[in-house]
């Protein structure tokens, strides 16, 4: 099992959600987050160094079984990219997922995902 965390631009949320649904990935968690990426963005403003502005982003968390990992990643990449590709299209993090429990039935592991 893997936990896929994607940070995307807010204006692509609907595109990504639709792509995921098309790929049969229907269980997702979405949150509003803020952050910033490349460090070179630091500005100098009237002699002071200014950290780049925090930019609103959307975070999507998806727990998947191994065979769904590539499918999910492809769907996100295809739908989250701007055309033409732009800085700020986002990132995808993949981490191993130790266990998963469905609270209602107390199922554990792959079937609970």
């Amino acid at each position: 099992m893997k936990l896929i965390t994607a940070i995307i631009n807010p204006d692509r949320l609907d595109h990504v959600r639709e792509a995921l649904i098309q790929a049969d990935i229907t269980r997702i968690t979405v949150s509003r987050v803020t952050g910033h990426g490349r460090q070179e963005d630091i500005d100098i403003y009237r002699g002071q160094k200014i950290a780049p502005n925090l930019i609103p982003k959307i975070r999507i968390d998806i727990a998947v079984n191994e065979e769904f990992v590539e499918k999910t990643i492809d769907a996100i990449i295809d739908s989250a990219s701007h055309d033409p590709v732009a800085i700020g299209d986002g990132k995808i993090f993949i981490t191993p997922l130790e266990d998963c429990i469905r609270i209602r039935t107390r199922e554990r592991g792959g079937s609970a995902v």
């Binding site: 807010p10 204006d11 949320l13 609907d14 509003r32 987050v33 502005n53 925090l54 609103p56």
Partner: protein, 443 residues
């Protein structure tokens, strides 16, 4: 073409320097009480525009909140410029083209009214500005029907043309002293504060626009939940407050007629909200806040044409009846499946028609007696109903036909419906490059 352009430019200075006052020999004085109430009313009606922006803005999805509020503010800006330029002259100038529309070169840019005091003892500037607020809110109401899916540029051109070609003529027919609906029947078609001019014209246009532009992407399969009902309720509250200027100001006086209009406005709004609340309690077991807000609006819309002629009993009846019929209209819309997104037709069109027609059954006896006298003997409720139906029918026909032509024209040239990609991203990002709730993200 070139010649015509040149002559138009030659005409411009003429238009600008023909500012002689209109009033005749008898000096009319300014009544400070009436003038101050009319100034207050003018400001109150303007308050309805941000009220409408909040009402509509709260009902759409988060990604469209700025785009939707900009539809109201855009009207405030665009009609705010157009109205003093040509709108007032087209609406309240003496009839030209066989009474189709008004026009007086002296009213272009409001030049001719610098010294004018009207017979109602207020400066004409106040009247012109008061009427200007009505011209602003009317096209803004339409935006509810095609929320979340129109191009801002196309919208701007649409409301500008609509205001000139649809609003001004109807306004002239119904409210100008030489308008043909103003003089229809014994004592004219009754439209105290804008049932036909404002609510029916915008509501019908809204229906035509919703049908022509088609549904939002995913409607009705996907749930499209309001992003902020708190804002919608605040907006509904502002609309209610502003409506006192809208209706009680339309008496263009500060006397008994004003008091009557204010009282029935309050009663009808409350009765409408109460009726909607009860209907929802019976139908769904829960009274929703959006239902109460819709009921307030339905009641206010229905009393708008009637505020000058009905008594409190009529106000209760009209408010409750409007809620009942509007509730049914929205159920019917859901069954039929067209996407009047924020129910601009369901509330303003339907509520306006209910008010304009049903008011005849509640007219105060003294008004009927006066009408009978003017008609030379007798004047019945049914005769007045005929007059009302004529006014409603003409408004519905004219607004829908001309709006459809405008919509097709703009869709084919500038483009009104936005692309699928822009619609998915949301109006805020695609049309304005902004987002509504930045502060929530610690930015």
């Amino acid at each position: 073409m070139k010649n015509r352009l040149i002559s138009a430019f030659l005409l411009l200075p003429l238009l600008l320097h023909s500012g002689t006052p209109l009033y005749g020999a008898e000096e009319v004085y300014t009544d400070s009480g009436t003038t101050s109430w009319m100034l207050t009313s003018t400001a109150l009606v303007l308050l309805m525009i941000p009220g409408l922006a909040m009402f509509y803005g709260g009902l759409v999805r988060t990604k469209n909140v700025i785009g939707t509020m900009m539809h109201s503010f855009g009207a405030m800006v665009i009609i705010g410029v157009l109205w003093p330029m040509v709108g007032y002259a087209l609406s309240f100038g003496p009839g030209v083209l066989g009474g189709f529309v008004g026009w007086d070169p002296q009213l272009f840019m409001l030049q001719g009214i610098d010294d004018t005091i009207m017979e109602s003892h207020i400066p004409e500037y106040v009247f012109a500005m008061f009427q200007g607020k009505f011209a602003i809110i009317t096209p803004a109401l339409i935006a509810g029907a095609f929320a979340e899916r129109v191009n801002f540029r196309g919208y701007a051109v649409f409301i500008a043309l609509w205001s000139i070609i649809v609003y001004s003529p109807i306004c002239h027919w119904v409210w100008a002293s030489d308008g043909f609906l103003f003089n229809l029947g014994a004592a004219g078609a009754i439209d105290f504060a804008g049932g036909t001019v404002v609510h029916i014209s915008s509501g019908v246009t809204a229906l035509v626009a919703a049908l022509y532009l088609g549904s939002r992407r995913g409607y009705p399969r996907n749930v499209m939940h309001p992003n902020n009902l708190v804002m919608t309720l605040t907006g509904a509250g502002l609309l209610w407050v502003g409506w006192f200027g809208f209706n009680a100001g339309s008496a263009i006086s500060s006397d008994l007629a004003t008091a009557r209009a204010l009282t029935v406005t309050q009663l009808s709004a409350a009765a409408g909200a109460f009726a909607w609340m009860v209907i929802e309690m019976v139908h769904h077991g829960k009274a929703t806040s959006l239902g109460v807000a819709s009921g307030i609006l339905a009641g206010l819309v229905a009393i708008t044409p009637a505020a000058g002629v009905v008594q409190p009993v009529g106000a209760f009846a009209l408010g409750a009846l409007a809620s009942l019929v509007c509730y049914g209209a929205i159920l019917l819309k859901n069954r039929m499946g067209y996407d009047d997104s924020l129910d601009a037709f369901g509330v303003h069109g339907v509520g306006g028609i209910v008010g304009a027609l049903a008011l005849v059954f509640f007219i105060r006896p003294s008004w009927m007696a006066e009408a009978a006298e003017l008609a030379g003997g007798s004047w019945s409720v049914w005769q007045q109903l005929g007059v009302q139906a004529t006014a409603v029918g003409i408004t519905v026909f004219y607004a829908s036909v001309v709006s459809l032509i405008l919509l097709v024209l703009i869709e084919k040239t500038i483009g009104l419906r936005i692309s699928e990609n822009d619609e998915m991203s949301g109006l805020d990002h695609s049309m304005h490059g902004e987002h509504g709730y930045g502060l929530i993200n610690l930015n």
